[in-house]
Symmetry: C2
Subunit: 389 residues, 2 copies
């Protein structure tokens, strides 16, 4: 498997474009094929998700329209009507069935959409739809809110199958969910059931292991469409490729968490079960105290031990081993409950790194999991205190 | 019931004192009687908690010794030995059985105690033990870490029974736990089983409903001792008094959360069950997005709706009603899922208040609960990025 350029537009059968004007943006992606989705587990589900879930019952999508700046969430029946209008406008542009259009939104909750903006931006975008790499980049940019960089990735498998994705993240990102917004395309020939299984498996290892702030959005959605313009892939290799795409996007989302200055990866092994490993890995990247310490470059590993202890997983304090690593150096801090002496120079180097890896071995059995998060900085507070209603 | 001065020292049979020198402090409380405790649910349990739980098996305490600056947590068998030494030193001062001494610690995790400091501070404190109000104030001060004010309260019931408490809070404070440090005394005549039941009931309504940052400490502990020097109280009135003492201390802990500029109270009713109401009330005060918005005086109530939705409770979006209130004004924002227009002047007044009350009616059944938290400010990040190991 090779990483390649071009994001979603490198996949055969995909054309896309997007615009961003002030805080409002719109992306439009045209790609026909079998499709599947994963949606937020928040009980307050935004209108576009209710609609897209209905549309996916047919098993196919021909296009996806996404707006940023307004989440169209908690907007009642009028909101659902607005989402339906978005689908109809998009369908009209391409001469397709409106029930084959996926709709997604991100932004503020509790406000009606401004349909004039949507219509005007869709007019601009539709004229520019392209299969060139720029189409993926512009779409990825159009769906950003407080993101600071665009998130796109593509891979090519040994049999020529391509898988590409774009995503947006930043705030309201947390563990118990479907995911943030991510749109993934492949030119492989795959039926809907297989696509769905592969997507669920990949999302559980990637987006569902990212914690920025512990707030599950009302609008989280991941869609995958298989255009079928390439061949039938080896399923194991396809899953590996899809995992790679989702994990790469998930890491980008964590790295670009609101206000983040560094990525935190927590690797847990030796847990009594996989479920326990997930609990521990997420508890570490979720802890505001661990996150603040890493922002302050403080190797305060006692806070990691506390998070392990309250995670809900089975824990034996004198079986715990713990290590911190940066991009160049690593240091074992605890082995089997015994605290080791570490030279402060080594720890300083590690804590100065842009990516901090926290490895925990619970020493009980062979459950393992990896989660991603980011540090908690002054900017997280600034961004969320100032994001005005 | 009347609120009275004097904290724990207003209770007959209690003498206390404390010292604080730099980041190290020690409080010593002498009071014989039936006793009960509630302890952290963190699986990594600090040494003093293991010891105190053993000592409480006898059902009685004669004294409590508490140090601040070092948590004596994740310190293995040596840590347990240090906790035992603290109990022995305290017992020696008063000529009591060391198994009747409660030991508590708060501070950094993963470091051995400096027993020289403990011994020297105990020598100073023991000479100054007093039943005057100043003893309670000095004890409350000695156990502070990043707290910015001392937390003490006392009430007198109509039958003359007194109940007083001191507490410390600030960081590593969260929902799934026994509690932060709180020491409560009453001169009522009560057996241990009754004390235990009353304490659990009060803690569930108070300390367990406080969220500062969602991190459960390894050292949370609440102890109650009944000196029996007053009469046998009416149990209903005693429970009301104990609830009042615990809720007052819990609110103080929330108000003094690390970096807090304001108190948040979330009142939930209309939930399908009490458990659901607790989930919703805590999800609101736990949400970093809600907390940041309140720091920024931003009435971004959509974030409250999102928190309600992901709380895990049964929720029907079009049954939700929502109101914000400050200390003078209040505003209904949503009734039965319908968004109301509110004048921005009213909202500005509310958001400028020192206490913000968020009221949610789920409109389903009659489950209700109240939780307390604080806003998320730059100072939370500063305090926890700089608290050095």
């Amino acid at each position: 498997m090779n990483e390649i350029e071009g994001g979603i537009c490198t996949v055969k059968g995909v054309s896309a474009w997007g615009v961003k004007q002030g805080k409002y943006g719109l992306a439009f992606i045209s790609a026909k094929g079998n499709a599947a989705g994963v949606f937020t587990r928040n009980r307050v589900i935004a209108a576009p998700l209710i609609l897209t879930r209905q549309h996916l019952e047919g098993g196919k999508l021909s296009a996806v329209i996404v707006n940023s700046g307004n989440a169209n969430a908690f907007t009642g029946l009028e909101g659902l009507e607005d989402a339906r209008t978005m689908a109809a406008l998009a369908a009209d542009k391409l001469g397709i069935d409106e029930k084959s259009v996926g709709v997604a939104s991100t932004g503020i909750i509790g406000h009606r959409l401004d349909m004039d903006i949507i219509q005007s931006q869709l007019n601009q975008v539709e004229k520019a739809l392209t299969t060139s790499n720029e189409g993926s980049a512009q779409s990825a940019k159009a769906i950003m809110t407080t993101d600071t960089f665009t998130k796109e990735v593509a891979v090519e498998l040994s049999d020529g199958t391509r898988i590409g994705g774009i995503a947006k993240g930043s705030g309201m990102i947390e563990p118990n969910m479907g995911t943030m917004l991510a749109f993934i395309y492949t030119d492989a020939i795959l039926d809907q059931l297989t696509l769905k299984q592969c997507l669920h498996s990949a999302v559980d290892k990637s987006f569902n292991m990212v914690v920025v702030d512990g707030d599950t959005s009302t609008n989280d959605m991941t869609l995958i469409t298989a255009t079928g313009q390439s061949g039938t892939p080896d399923l194991k290799k396809f899953q590996d490729g899809l995992d790679k795409v989702c994990i790469t996007l998930a890491r980008m989302i964590a790295r670009d968490g609101e206000g983040a200055t560094r990525l935190i990866e927590s690797r847990v092994k030796g847990a009594a079960s996989h479920t326990d490993a997930v609990l521990v890995a997420k508890a570490i990247v979720r802890s505001p105290l661990v996150k603040s310490a890493i922002f302050g470059r403080d190797p305060n590993w006692g806070r990691v031990v506390a998070a392990v202890g309250y995670s809900g997983a089975q824990v034996e304090p004198d079986h715990i081993s713990l290590a911190f690593a940066g991009m160049d150096k690593s240091a074992e801090l605890v082995i089997g409950g015994r605290i080791l002496e570490v030279t402060s120079g080594t720890l300083e180097d590690i804590m100065g790194s842009e990516e901090i890896i926290i490895s925990v071995d619970l020493g009980l059995d062979n459950g393992s999991a990896t989660a991603w998060g980011c540090d908690l900085s002054y900017d997280y507070v600034r961004i969320n205190a100032e994001y005005t209603t």
